[in-house]
Amino acid sequence: MLHLLSIEFRKMYSYRTFWVVCGLYFLTIGFSTATGMEFLKWLANTIGKFGSELNTDRIPLYHFPDVWLNLVWWSGFFKVLLGIMVVISITNEYSYRTIRQNVIDGLSRWEFLFSKILMNVVLSAASVVLIFIIAAVTGFIYTPEINWKYVFTDLEFYPVYFLELLSFLSYALMLGILVQRSGLTIILLLLSYMLEAIIKANVDDYLPWLIQFFPMESISALVPIPFYRYAFQPIQDYVDPVAIIIATTWMALFNYFSYLKLTRSDL
């Protein structure tokens, strides 16, 4: 496994696009999650100039346990950047035809795919670790009174966040392997949510129970929107096991389809 991962890292060694996109991604999720409180203060200040008041202390964005779910939900938006990077990495192999040379040199097709999946795991895990650290640090800074019971509440959203990222990246990888052209794949990746939304809107009238089984929906449903609670509305602050089963199944299917396509086609 380490062998395959080292192959993948060697491919990226002096590939500037990879490091720039990944750098931008981690900077974006890092900064945007770490500076939410400063943003609220700025917002309060701006609104204050117009005579209204926004009491930032009343919005416990960064208080334990809210901080865990809040940051996970927010950073989940940026996974599309990682998805684009995954697409570039796999479609490059087709446009440079290096996938062919890799196999000639003695990599099996499964090993080739598995090295890409491992890279997805590493990227997802790095995101989870980064957000976890930022949430922990900001939580300890902004929470007025540390109650250890709350510190350890809602932590289950981190493995779920990992599943969310890995499912999405598996989808991006599969799309890249099926389409093989980077531009078209990226467009399809970006349109996936919209295309699914159109289908969902039509299905909603007849078979509403079907919606949760849609792939993009299943990935989004893993981490529920947390902010309604600040408008005193109930939110789902637990992990839905059905959503996990559906998303995991999709993830397995995405990678299985990639495997089928890769082993059956001529390179």
Partner: protein, 297 residues
């Protein structure tokens, strides 16, 4: 004899097109095996199947008596069609990556870079290399794991005459080391100079296979040139003459079996003729290749 490669009934269809049809072939250890054929005759498709990148429609093959698999490919060095590398990585980094894939020592890298004389450019990105350098890096990559079998597909494509000569020398040097080489080419001169065996493919069919030695055997052809008007008549009277044609200002005499160039020389001298030009031509692979292609039509 130990067979490095056995192919039986290998077939590949692309839709309605049959790229390789029922190909059976044996390649022994230490052979330098030339695969000849016009463009599109199925050479690269065959090699692609042997290297696991194209799934055969039918048929089977085995390397070193083992069934095909990715582990056995690590023992083979192969360059198919054109060189393929990551353009943004340097030559050195590309070879390090390939060494990781082949699970061989990275210490070989400097040695193979020396062989192909790329050591001075090894840290430049691959995309800055000239075509000749790319070809040489591909050969370096194929040699990386010290393979017992080397597959080269048109290794001199796009090279200048000096590059072609260099690659030819390189192939001879590698062959002298006892390696088995499979060389696909449509440069017949090339194959005749380096190969011990050859096969001819046309439209996916194997139409000939045999050793290169046989090419030179058979009847001789002698080119004769002299400043004598009746030379044609005199040559016609020579008992060993089969046929005469005129080419480039010389008479090209095809001799009957068991007659040789020295016989015609003696005959002319006895008739009081000294010639300016007397060359014995063996049949070239090119002539034989064209013969094979036309007879099997």
């Amino acid at each position: 004899m130990n067979n490095v490669l056995s192919v039986s009934g290998l077939t590949k269809n692309f839709g309605k097109l049959c790229a390789v049809n029922n190909l059976s072939l044996e390649i022994g250890a230490g052979h330098v095996f030339g695969m000849l054929g016009p463009n599109g005759s199925g050479k690269t498709t065959t090699l692609g199947m042997l290297m696991g990148v194209i799934n055969p429609t039918r048929g089977s093959f085995s390397w070193f008596g083992e069934p095909p698999g990715h582990e056995v490919r690590k023992k083979i060095g192969a360059v198919l069609e054109h060189p393929i590398f990551y353009p943004y990585l340097s030559g050195q980094r590309n070879l390090e990556l390939n060494a990781t894939i082949k699970e061989c020592s990275k210490e070989n890298i400097s040695r193979v870079l020396d062989i192909v004389e790329l050591t001075t450019r090894k840290d430049d990105p691959y995309k800055t290399y000239s075509l000749g350098m790319k070809q040489r890096l591909a050969i370096a990559s194929a040699l990386l794991n010290d393979p017992t079998v080397l597959i080269l597909d048109e290794p001199t494509n796009g090279l200048d005459p000096m590059g072609i000569a260099e690659i030819r020398e390189l192939i001879k040097k590698i062959a002298a080391g006892g390696k088995t080489i499979i060389l696909a080419s449509h440069l017949l001169d090339e194959v005749q100079k380096v190969c011990t065996h050859f096969a001819v493919l046309r439209k996916g069919n194997l139409i000939y296979t045999g050793p290169v030695d046989v090419v030179g055997s058979g009847s001789e052809t002698v080119e004769v040139g002299a400043d004598i008007i009746e030379l044609h008549e005199i040559l016609k009277a020579f008992p060993g003459t089969n046929s005469i044609s005129r080419e480039n200002g010389f008479y090209r005499v095809t001799l009957r079996e068991s007659f040789h160039g020295r016989d015609i020389n003696r005959y002319l001298f006895e008739n009081g003729i000294t010639v300016d030009h007397l060359v014995t031509r063996k049949k070239t692979l090119e002539q034989m290749f064209l013969e094979i292609l036309s007879t099997k039509n």
